[in-house]
């Protein structure tokens, strides 16, 4: 093995990429662990132990932030799995205009998230927005999508699903196309109809795709910031604050040490959810 490597490429080829990775990722990560233990003004720092972590957990909006983050990640991840699966199913059935429909479904994904956020903020305007005006044509008085604290979080989640379902669909399509036709034929020979084929072949054999979508959507949801920030800024009040937007506001306020502590916490929260999830989902895959 060693000989083989020596004969092909030198490890030195890793140096340029490695240097960039160490300078811009590894080093800042370890520096952030250090600065999270200090009171930091960018000009100088003072070591204060765990005070930042204590202060961060006392933040009154943090509870809301955690709840919103979990809500957002769960709702969007599950919706993307269900909708992505359904769309993937339809788009692999060989119906007409498949190529066109696939493009339509994928289209929102290539848009800038900030542009999506600003656009939907206008579309969801309670009085002048296109959504409520359309609803008014049918005599329905639409809700105050982003202004009502009870549904603002749900409105933002809806937009994220619209934007992110394209990627999920593509992953599902790839997974479904990899399923050999033989299995479907076997079911149909046994007299199984369409739903039986879906339930007993497509669902179990799409498991790797499902896992990828769930994991990606979950991690993406936990770290989401840009969409929520452009749509509501965390408001009204603190009602759509996420962990990431709380951290961002602390950087803005100049609490660099405190905000860095928040990032360290977010790092561990994402790891604490993503690692077991990854492990659990992969184990299921093996036992299939």
């Amino acid at each position: 093995m060693k000989k083989l490597l020596n004969n092909t490429y030198s490890y030195w080829f890793l140096v340029p990429a490695g240097l960039i990775y160490v300078t811009f990722f590894i080093a800042p990560t370890f520096m952030s662990f250090f600065f999270s233990l200090t009171r930091w003004t960018l000009f100088d720092w003072e070591f204060i132990g765990l005070e930042n972590f204590i202060m961060f957990f006392q933040e009154s909006s943090l509870k809301v932030g955690f709840r919103n983050t979990l809500f957002f990640a769960t709702v969007t991840a599950l919706s993307k799995v269900v909708l992505g699966f359904a769309l993937g199913l339809v788009l692999t059935m060989g119906i007409r205009f498949t190529g066109f429909l696939r493009s339509i479904v994928f289209f929102p994904t290539i848009l800038s998230i900030v542009a999506v956020g600003i656009t939907f903020r206008r579309l969801m305007h309670p009085a002048h927005g296109a959504i409520n005006r359309t609803l008014a044509l049918f005599g329905i008085s639409g809700p105050n999508w982003l202004g009502n604290v009870d549904i603002a979080m749900l409105s933002v989640s809806l937009v994220d699903v619209w934007r992110g379902v394209g990627i999920a669909t593509v992953i599902f399509i790839a997974g479904m196309q990899a399923i050999p036709r033989d299995y479907y034929e076997a079911v149909s020979i046994d007299g199984g109809g369409f739903w039986r084929q879906v339930w007993h072949v497509t669902v179990p054999l799409s498991r790797p795709a499902t896992n990828s979508v769930l994991l990606l959507a979950m991690i993406g949801g936990l770290r989401t910031f840009d969409l929520v920030w452009t749509m509501t800024g965390g408001g009204p009040g603190f009602s759509t604050d996420l962990i990431a937007s709380i951290i961002y506001k602390q950087y803005q306020a100049g609490f660099y040490g405190l905000a860095t502590a928040g990032n360290v916490i977010l790092f561990f929260v994402v790891a604490a959810i993503a690692v077991p999830l990854f492990w659990f989902l992969n184990r299921k895959e093996v036992t299939l």
Binding site: W12, R39, L42, H125, V149, G235, G237, F238
Partner: protein, 435 residues
């Protein structure tokens, strides 16, 4: 072979990264113009929301008279801009001149480390002490005023007032009566623009004249952690006033979806009768709505005593000279020129100011009606500086908390208590005593 690869790699990395770092160096310095006169180029960093036509006018004149050319660099405003400023100071990349808020924000930059102390300069004698305090640390004074001061209170639509036969209120109760009369006439009493959350703060911040008048030491006690908003009745009044306006249903419809610009349009056209706001943005109304600016009037947020009706004043932004810049002498000459008679004249020729100048001996003869109304408070001595110029403590979440109060999500008392908790982090970050 191996050494050659290392060498190539190192050279490649150096070649790739050098231009990135070199890009940070601004091209400042001296150059000779066609007619042989030496022109010194300076850079000036300013946010992209502040009016700069006055500064540009002074710069144009300075190029002719001093041979100093000022290159203006724009940065984002608000808290995002604060991060740009702090990063550039921390990395030693600040422009020769920096335009920035005076008061608590400026002092959070540790000005004594970064900027030239102007306290010994003779041209500082004509700057009012009330301004100098907001840019001083110890005995050092680190900036000049870059604009006029301005007031915070209530815009009102003079046409609506005339049609309804209303008078400018001198107590809070009279104001509430006016709001009721306006609502009865089918006009929105108060424009609310909580989409731009900072605008939700004016009712509390603009109430500080009343706090200061009753409890002059509040700012000192507040800084020392001995007085707070929730347990000081007169300070709590600002939060309560916000709640009263909400409870009576006087805020305009869909406040969370309404932006600052839309609210300015509402009060300018008379769709809304009032808008709690700072006078500094009056030029925005003129720019967007032209002559309607003359329909805008202004009064300070009233308290309970009709004979003690004043206005809360904000100090102008400051222009500071970066001490580690390459052209400190030229930059110092520029700020000297900025506050000289010639500089002020050039400034006023291009900028319609929105409050009193803080330079001695400067009279304003041409001002918006709203500013003229505000100047009567100034001339009668009925002013107090805003809290942020008396205390370094300003919590970052005040705007969101006040949106909650303004929407009725929390009560005034809960909001005030939440804000008292919010400022603890700021006080500790600043390393203040007693926190």
């Amino acid at each position: 072979m191996k050494t050659r690869i290392i060498m190539v790699t190192v050279i490649a990395i150096v070649a790739l990264t050098l231009p990135v770092f070199a890009g940070g160096q601004g091209e400042t310095g001296s150059e000779a113009t066609g007619d042989g006169q030496e022109i010194t180029e300076l850079t000036l960093l300013v946010d992209n929301q502040s009016p700069i036509e006055g500064i540009e006018a002074v710069a144009a004149r300075a190029e002719e008279e001093l041979g100093i050319r000022v290159e203006i660099e724009l940065r984002p405003g608000g808290t995002e801009g604060d991060n740009v400023v702090k990063t550039r100071l921390a990395t030693g990349e600040m422009a020769d001149l920096m335009y920035y808020n005076s008061g608590s924000l400026f002092k959070a930059l540790s000005p004594e480390r970064h900027f030239v102390d102007l306290s010994d300069m003779s041209f500082m004698d004509r700057i009012l002490d009330s301004f100098k305090e907001t840019v001083s640390v110890g005995d050092g004074v680190y900036g000049i005023p870059a604009d006029s001061a301005f007031g915070g209170g209530w815009y009102y639509n003079r046409r609506v007032y005339e049609e309804l036969g209303l008078e400018v209120p001198h107590t809070w109760d009279q104001l509430m009566e006016n709001l009721a009369a306006v609502e009865a006439a089918g006009i929105e009493p108060v424009a609310a623009s909580f989409a731009d959350t900072w605008t939700a703060q004016i009712i509390v911040l603009g109430d500080f004249y009343n706090v200061y008048s009753e409890y002059p030491d509040f700012a000192a006690d507040y800084t020392a952690n001995e007085a707070h908003f929730a347990d000081t009745p007169i300070a709590l009044r600002g939060f309560q006033k916000m709640q009263e306006v909400h409870d009576a249903g006087y805020f305009s419809a869909n406040p969370v979806a309404t932006t600052f610009d839309e609210a300015l349009a509402m009060v300018a056209t008379g769709e809304a009768a009032h808008y709690p706001m700072l006078t500094v943005v009056l030029p925005n109304i003129e720019a967007a709505h032209g002559d309607l600016i003359n329909d805008i009037g202004f009064f300070g947020q009233p308290g309970s005593d009709p004979d003690d009706h004043g206005v809360t004043l904000w100090m102008p932004a400051t222009l500071a000279v970066y001490a580690d810049g390459e052209n400190v002498d030229a930059a110092t000459r520029f700020v000297e020129y900025f506050v000289s008679d010639a500089g002020v004249e050039a400034f006023l020729s291009a900028r319609t100011v929105t409050g009193p100048m803080v330079i001695e001996g400067v009279e304003l003869d041409d001002a918006y009606p709203a500013v003229q109304e505000m100047l009567t408070y100034v001339n009668n001595g009925l002013t107090a500086p805003a809290l942020e110029f008396l205390s370094p403590i300003k919590g970052p979440n005040l705007e969101q908390i006040l949106v909650q109060v303004g929407l009725g999500l929390v009560s005034a008392e809960e909001g005030a208590a939440e804000y008292d908790r919010d400022v603890v982090r700021q006080a500790r970050q600043l390393g203040l005593e007693g926190w």
